[in-house]
């Protein structure tokens, strides 16, 4: 899997192009230097040990001058290569800066230990979307991601789309991305943030404009009240148990703010910040013993009766 070298958007494409320029030029430099080293050693290699005891090589001024000019020429070539590289760098930076920024989608991304809070702001508060660990974007449109952190420094990085941006608490920043083809692009936190840094992943799903708008509209709705008794029992367990203390589901009484929003939990592809696929078996394991899967994360182990657990799974599975 070659994510940086498998670009899906203009930013990553320019960077990948720069990489290939550098790779070929620098590989050539490397091969030449090593060749010079090996040829030099082999050519000048003494055939017998007597050389060790004989006097050192006598220096001839003309030869020394010639050697000096050769070294100077190599240094000059190095400078030329560096200038070429600098030019390529400037061109890439220029291209990145000139990318379109109109008709952009704006997303607010906040880093927590060890999950991502995703918010689609809207002038009308009722139309704001809050979700977690999964970003949907339309293809072909620039996306502005405003970054911030609630605790320590994290880093947003989706290699197929762009380089990374650190989420520094108190230093809000922003990064532009754009996907030019539909797909599911994985990212991972790239700044060490503690015990579960390794499991702080996120998904960027790029889809057509229609699908994106449909998704956004669905996310805006509050959670549907469950119709079957098992799911209703699950809702009861959710609201009266420990879940509601940390998680929120819009449309119910659960409004905890310190853990991911679960209003449309079943519409997400993964759980636990990209660690597990969103299936009932994995979900059950996660709910009962999250510490086994992500030791040290903030969700405590919960021991529920089997009926309660099944009810909860049914309820959560209905939160599409």
């Amino acid at each position: 899997m070659r994510s940086v070298l498998d670009p899906a958007g203009p930013q990553a494409a320019h960077i990948a192009a720069l990489w290939w320029w550098m790779f070929w030029i620098f590989s050539t430099v490397f091969v030449l230097v090593i060749a010079a080293l090996l040829v030099g050693i082999f050519r000048a290699r003494a055939r017998d040990d007597a050389v060790m005891t004989s006097p050192s090589v006598a220096l001839q001024p003309t030869r020394e001058r010639r050697i000096g000019w050769t070294v100077a020429a190599c240094v000059g070539l190095t400078i030329v290569v560096l200038i070429i590289f600098l030019a390529a760098n400037v061109i890439t930076g220029h291209r990145l800066a000139l990318l379109a920024a109109d008709n952009a989608v704006t997303i607010q991304l906040t880093g927590y230990r060890w999950w991502w809070k995703v918010r689609y702001p809207d002038p009308v508060p009722a139309r704001q979307v809050t979700t977690a660990n999964e970003i949907h974007i339309p293809i072909g449109r620039p996306v502005l991601i405003n970054t911030d952190s609630q605790d320590v420094i994290h880093s947003f990085w989706v290699p197929s789309l762009h380089g990374k941006r650190d989420l520094v608490p108190g230093n809000p920043s922003a990064i532009w991305i754009q996907a030019d083809r539909p797909g599911r692009f994985e990212g991972q936190c790239a700044e060490f943030c503690g015990l579960q840094h390794a499991h702080m992943r996120l998904l960027v799903i790029a889809e057509s404009e229609e699908n994106y708008q449909a998704w956004l509209e669905a996310q805006r709705q509050a959670a549907r009240a469950p119709s079957d008794p098992l799911a209703q029992r699950g809702l009861h367990v959710f609201e009266t148990g420990p879940c509601a203390l940390c998680h929120s589901v819009r449309g119910t009484e659960a409004s905890g703010q310190v853990a991911p929003d679960l209003t449309h939990f079943a519409s997400r592809a993964t759980i636990a910040a990209g660690t597990l696929p969103n299936s009932p078996g994995h979900l059950a394991a996660w709910i009962v013993d999250p510490q086994h899967i992500k030791p040290g994360n903030a969700m405590p182990s919960n021991s529920l009766s089997p009926e309660d657990l099944q009810a909860l799974l049914a309820y959560l599975g209905g939160l599409k």
Binding site: P300, S301, N302
Partner: protein, 208 residues
């Protein structure tokens, strides 16, 4: 390349190797000790804390010094308090903010709820009493969290509350928050009221 038979080893060489070996053995021995303060126990088996049982708290009324062990009803298999564990106290501090203890108790100074930094404990300052208080709620507004928190989380809160009350050693106390200038030394201030001079509970350790 010829290996030459060697005259007796130089003393300094021998001594060096012995010292290095001793140092390594010492380190290895140390590895078997632990430091309780730094243990991070992520998943104690933590069943849901029991739901609050209705029961007559006949012994206790506001204003009376508390008695130890009153009314603890929860099922718990966590080894008793995390009093010696710096990580647990720090987790308790996080949960104290998350579950809005700050709303009534501020950062220990109290407000709607009584202060936790002083040495007046209405319902007991021993870990089991605080545990019961959190689970059962108390008159005049303390909510009952029984059934809503994992038992491990309750014990972490207990450890933090006791740290606020000055029961934690200096090296265990959590550092300041990044968002509010509460000095760690302020989180264990003793009240200087007349009552405090007389109310000495049996198990109370000297702070610091």
């Amino acid at each position: 390349m010829i290996w030459q038979a060697q005259a007796p080893l130089q003393n300094s060489c021998n001594r060096k190797h012995t010292r290095v070996g001793a140092a390594l053995a010492f380190l290895l021995a140390l590895a078997f000790t632990g430091c309780e303060r730094e243990q991070r126990r992520f998943s104690e088996i933590a069943p849901l804390s029991g739901r609050p049982q209705p029961q007559a708290n006949t012994e206790l009324r506001p204003g009376m010094p508390g008695a130890p062990g009153a009314g603890a009803q929860s099922k718990t298999t966590v080894p008793a308090p995390y009093g010696e564990n710096g990580w647990a106290i720090s987790e308790g501090k996080r949960l104290y903010t998350w579950f809005n203890c700050i709303g009534c108790h501020a950062n220990g100074g109290g407000g709607m709820g009584p202060p936790l930094m002083d040495d007046k404990w209405i319902y007991g300052s021993d870990p089991e009493s605080i545990h019961a208080t959190i689970l059962q709620g108390r008159p005049n507004g303390m909510p009952a969290f029984g059934g809503k928190l994992a038992d491990q989380q309750v014990w972490q809160l207990v450890a933090y509350v006791r740290a606020l009350g000055g029961f934690a050693r200096k090296d265990l106390r959590p550092g300041r928050n990044d968002d509010m200038a509460v000095r760690s030394s302020e989180q264990a201030m003793k009240s200087r009221t007349a009552e405090s001079a007389g109310s000495a509970l049996p198990e109370r350790e000297q702070p610091r």
